[in-house]
């Protein structure tokens, strides 16, 4: 039994060591096994072998690496990153089979895990199992649903909601809720309905248009940038309906609009004013 176990343990050692000393090591084990009888001595022998493997195995790999004569694969690859190969011998058929089986099992298990996690992620509002793509669309939809109550009670000339002058169309609201209640809705059609546009004019405190200023829309999905034209106008199209922070960068100086700005579809442009004191005031026409 000892010999069988140790023969398998010996396979863990570097091949040069195995070739040179495997027979000797097994002979030593046989000698000890012959001389050391009784439960206590046999248990001690087993303990010695286990400790010996743990102590000597790393040492042997370190040493076999130190005395390697021929250049390693990574050294001969001329700058191309490659793995350091500890074993010099070509891989055996069993090792290749085992490696392949392990790889396939790992990929399969990972796939199952991803599928399981996507299937069972709680999606509030959904009344049944939906596909992963629909789950993502659902989450995007929830993230982009504007908060109607936000920004109320702010300054008279200032509106935090660009679309505050226009109530959200009933049809749009219905469209935004459709995927939650119906799993047959097309994701592409839904995504198209979840975008809007925002345009406006940037002026200074004296109502003169500011050109070549960068308007940044910073949201949870990233950052959009538009440049103002000669008349200070700018436009964003295909903007996901979400809450954004607005910043204006003029000659390297950033002026941020500190409140959150919900973007909705707008037919009339917003008015951005660089007020004295480095403030940015956003107002909607008619407000």
């Amino acid at each position: 039994m000892f010999e069988k176990v140790y023969t398998r343990l010996l396979r863990l050692y570097p091949s040069p060591f195995r070739k040179q000393y495997a027979d000797e090591a097994l002979q030593l084990l046989r000698d000890r096994h012959r001389d050391e009888t009784g439960f206590f001595k046999r248990a001690r022998l087993l303990w010695d072998l286990v400790v010996d493997v743990f102590v000597s195995l790393p040492q042997e790999y370190r040493n076999s690496d130190a005395v390697r004569d021929e250049p390693t694969l990574s050294a001969s690859a001329e700058g191309i990153p490659s793995f350091m190969v500890l074993e010099k011998e070509p891989l055996g058929r069993g090792a290749i089979l085992l490696g392949s089986a392990l790889s396939v099992t790992t990929v399969f298990a990972f796939g199952l895990l991803v599928r399981w996690s996507m299937d069972y992620l709680p999606v509030p509002g959904s009344n049944g199992r939906i596909t992963p793509i629909q789950a993502v669309v659902e989450r995007l939809n929830r993230a982009t649903t504007p908060d109607a109550g936000e920004g109320d009670g702010e300054g008279a000339s200032e509106s935090t909601s660009v679309g505050a002058s226009e109530p959200q169309p009933r049809a749009e609201r219905a469209a935004s809720l459709a995927p939650a209640s119906s799993s047959t809705a097309s994701p592409a059609a839904y995504l198209a309905s979840a975008t809007g546009s925002w345009r406006g004019v940037l002026t200074d405190a004296n109502a003169r248009p500011v050109r070549s200023a960068e308007i940044h829309l910073i949201g949870g999905h990233g950052e959009l940038v538009a440049l103002t034209g000669e008349d200070g106008s700018f436009a964003f199209s295909e903007v996901a309906l979400a809450n954004y922070e607005v910043a204006v960068v003029l000659a390297g100086r950033e002026i941020a609009y500190l409140k959150t700005l919900p973007v909705k579809n707008l037919s009339t442009p917003s008015k951005l004013t660089l007020a004295p004191g480095g403030r940015l005031v956003i107002s909607s026409p008619g407000k």
């Binding site: 000393y21 000797e24 002979q27 030593l28 084990l29 010695d48 102590v55 000597s56 130190a66």
Partner: protein, 116 residues
């Protein structure tokens, strides 16, 4: 090219050299001799034993000798190892260094008199 490190000399390698000081031994006999000379404190496992032997062979501190004929004239299928002159010299200097340490420890009354 980096070589196996024998500086400082590992305890297992030093004990193997001491075991071979009296004569040529094969692996199992070295293991038994080391166990005996350390009062059972050090039992070299096969991996440690042959790893150390390999390092000592590469350092030319021991050498492998032709198969040994035992008392019955029967050839044993074992490799025997012998301490080289360089190995003996290194073992002596290592022992002298330890003797110096021992002398200092005794002078500092860290060791009692029963240690030689």
């Amino acid at each position: 090219m980096p070589k196996r490190k024998l500086d400082p000399l590992p305890a297992a390698a030093f004990q193997i050299m001491l075991a071979l000081a009296d004569g040529d031994l094969h692996g199992y006999a070295i293991m038994r001799q080391v166990e005996e000379q350390t009062g059972g404190r050090l039992r070299l496992g096969p991996g440690t034993l042959y790893g150390s032997i390999q390092a000592l062979l590469e350092g030319k501190l021991i050498e492998e000798i032709a198969r040994h004929e035992d008392a019955d004239g029967r050839s044993e299928r074992r490799r025997y190892y012998r301490l080289t002159v360089a190995g003996r010299k290194l073992a002596r200097s290592e022992a002298e260094m330890m003797a110096d340490v021992l002398r200092v420890a005794r002078a500092r009354k860290i060791l009692r008199g029963d240690y030689v």
